[in-house]
């Protein structure tokens, strides 16, 4: 898949396949193309060359969108509405009004359900945004840096939730530049300058680079690609 904005190649011959029920991590620095890739996956961007297939159907496809949960990088919420009203609104777009309680429980925000989003901290807004993305029980979950500003305890809790969803067959693609988070993914794709440098489990990547830390592996593999 190729996508260019003007002369900048945001995605340069990226070819990847995510297996059903796995947690796939997109690892790369800011501006490497992670968000562009996720937007292409959800059909918001049409690739200049190549194609995107989700659940066996070519994107963009409205029927497939019913099955996708998409969490944008910026906590895209109506700040003058309450937590519950936000989650309720996105639920009603999918016809999933009954799931609001469950989604609030998933992000541990039941106690704040009546609060206006404007009065919440950044981390809490991220959690509301996540609740909006999972409320309709999607089969594919696309998360663009989902745990920015979330404290470590809650991050662990959310990842436990992702694990449970994955075990139930939900496919999750998560972008991140936090190495601790990358460790929790089943497989990783290293992205830099719009190119997919390497793919594999965290252990495989470390092994291939011959280093102990994932961060070093990322540096080493980037440098190799430059050569």
């Amino acid at each position: 898949m190729v996508k260019a904005f003007g002369r900048v190649r945001a995605l340069d011959k990226v070819n990847l396949r995510v297996r059903t029920g796995e947690i796939y991590g997109l690892l790369g620095p800011n501006g490497s193309g992670k968000t562009t890739l996720i937007r292409a996956l959800v059909g918001l961007l049409a690739p200049d060359a190549g194609m995107v297939t989700v659940l066996g159907r070519r994107m963009p496809n409205v029927a497939v969108l019913e099955e996708i949960g998409y969490m944008t990088q910026q906590a895209a919420l109506y700040t003058d509405l309450s937590v519950e009203e936000n989650v309720g609104f996105f639920a009603s777009i999918f016809g999933a009004e009954d799931n609001v309680d469950e989604a609030l429980k998933f992000v541990d925000l039941q106690a704040r359900r009546g609060d206006a989003v404007a009065n919440l901290s950044g981390g809490m807004r991220t959690r509301v945004s996540l609740a909006c993305a999972v409320v309709h029980g999607p089969r594919v979950l696309l998360l663009d840096e989902p745990t920015v500003g979330v404290d470590p305890q809650l991050r662990a809790q959310l990842w436990a939730g992702f694990r449970r969803m994955s075990a139930a067959g939900v496919t999750i693609v998560v972008s991140s530049h936090i190495m601790d988070e990358a460790e929790r993914c089943d497989r990783l794709g290293l992205i830099r300058s719009g190119r997919l440098l390497a793919e594999g489990t965290a252990d495989e990547l470390r092994g291939r680079a011959g280093v102990d830390r994932l961060e070093d592996a990322f540096m080493r593999l980037s440098a190799e690609a430059d050569r």
Binding site: F5, V42, Y70, T72, A75, Y78, D80, I93, C132
Partner: protein, 375 residues
């Protein structure tokens, strides 16, 4: 059940917008309080007790009798006094004590009887518009009375007001009625336009539009939801403005209130979709506000609010005929001042044009959502 499913998403969007409006006191004030303030100001300015009271004078240098008679008649008029010399009058004009004066020259009587011409001079301060017509009218009347009185026995001059009969309205109809009917349409158009363009822009900038575009809602469903919520808002706003205009400041209405609401409703729907469309071209709320004069100015001047469209120069008239408010204002005046029904004169035509404009705006708004911004 299928039909219910079809409207589920638009209803969700409309419900959410109304929840947002309910929370947003500023927007509520803009939508409901601002028009009342505007109409109240209009009423106070146009029907208030402040009357024009120009300070004017007459200077008589006439060697014959007419100038003196005319000066005497003028002195009975409001705000008139007589000045002995032109120099004194000029001084008063310069110091701001006078707005204007009339000078009857030495040959005034001779010119009137010999050449049948009135040769008075008007001297105007020039900074205010009201002195000249007032002076001119008073002088013309006084001269005629003086001339006729000198020629023969004084005539019974025509009364101040000739007998007038009205096809529509009546003697009490004034400028407020004429402007008020149009203002209701203008106020609805602009407030709905501003609110929609900013609310929709916020949907873009805060990222919720991106989220909705990644959901199964279609562009048409989204626009429909916006239309439902803003249509309801427009209707409530129209009812408030109309009630205030008719009950409190007594703007004349001879036609059906429902027809008036139909007009304001259509004006509002067009404005709402125009707002959505325009928000595509803005990246911030400040940029959205920059569109307000672009949309507002031509319609204030060219839609017939103040200057009648059929008296405009041809190129401007062509522009006027492309503006939706031209038809809205004409329709509102036809209904409110002339009591036209839906089938009278151009009312149906105006309604059809407003519907067409609203449809065009809906299509443009829907199409504009396609433009997906690069990162």
């Amino acid at each position: 059940m299928i039909a219910l499913n079809r409207i589920r998403r638009p209803v969700a969007v409309a419900k959410r917008l109304l929840q947002q409006f309910r929370r947003d006191r500023r927007t509520l004030a803009l939508v409901f309080l601002a028009p009342i303030v505007i109409m109240a100001l209009l009423g106070a300015l146009m029907r208030g007790s402040g009357t024009v009271n120009p300070r004017v004078a007459a200077v008589n240098q006439d060697r014959g009798p007419l100038g003196a008679v005319a000066t005497k008649i003028l002195k009975d008029h409001r705000g008139f006094r007589s000045e002995a010399t032109a120099a004194a009058a000029d001084k008063a004009l310069r110091s701001g004590d006078l707005d204007g004066y009339v000078l009857f020259p030495a040959s005034f009587s001779a010119d009137a009887s010999g050449a049948h011409r009135f040769t008075e001079e008007l001297h105007i301060e020039g900074g205010s518009q009201s002195a000249r017509p007032y002076l001119q009218q008073a002088v013309a009347g006084a001269e005629l009375a003086a001339f006729l009185g000198a020629q023969a026995k004084p005539l019974a001059l025509p009364a101040d007001s000739p007998r007038v009969s009205y096809l529509h309205g009546g003697p009490t109809l004034d400028a407020l009625d004429y402007l008020g009917a149009a203002f209701i349409g203008v106020v609805v158009f602009f407030l709905v336009f501003i609110v929609t363009s900013v609310v929709f822009l916020r949907e873009r900038t805060q990222g919720t539009l991106e989220r909705l575009m990644a959901s199964p809602i279609s562009r048409g469903e989204l626009v429909l939801g916006y239309m439902a919520a803003l249509g309801l808002l427009t209707l409530l706003q129209s009812i408030v403005v109309l009630t205030f205009s008719l009950v409190v400041i007594h703007v004349h209405n001879q036609g059906s209130v429902l027809l008036v609401l139909l007009f304001t409703g259509l004006i509002g729907l067009g404005a709402a979709n125009l707002g959505i469309f325009v928000s595509v071209f803005s990246r911030s709320e400040f940029q959205a506000v920059q569109f307000v004069p672009v949309v507002v100015a031509p319609q204030v001047f060219l839609a017939g609010l103040i200057f009648p469209v059929d008296q405009e120069p041809l190129p401007l008239r062509i522009i006027s005929n492309l503006l939706p408010l031209t038809y809205g204002i004409r329709g509102l005046r036809d209904v409110m001042l002339r009591g036209s029904g839906i089938l009278t004169g151009e009312v149906l035509g105006d309604l059809v044009i407003l519907v067409l404009f609203a449809v065009a705006a809906v299509v443009a708004a829907t199409a504009s959502l396609k433009r997906r911004e690069p990162n």
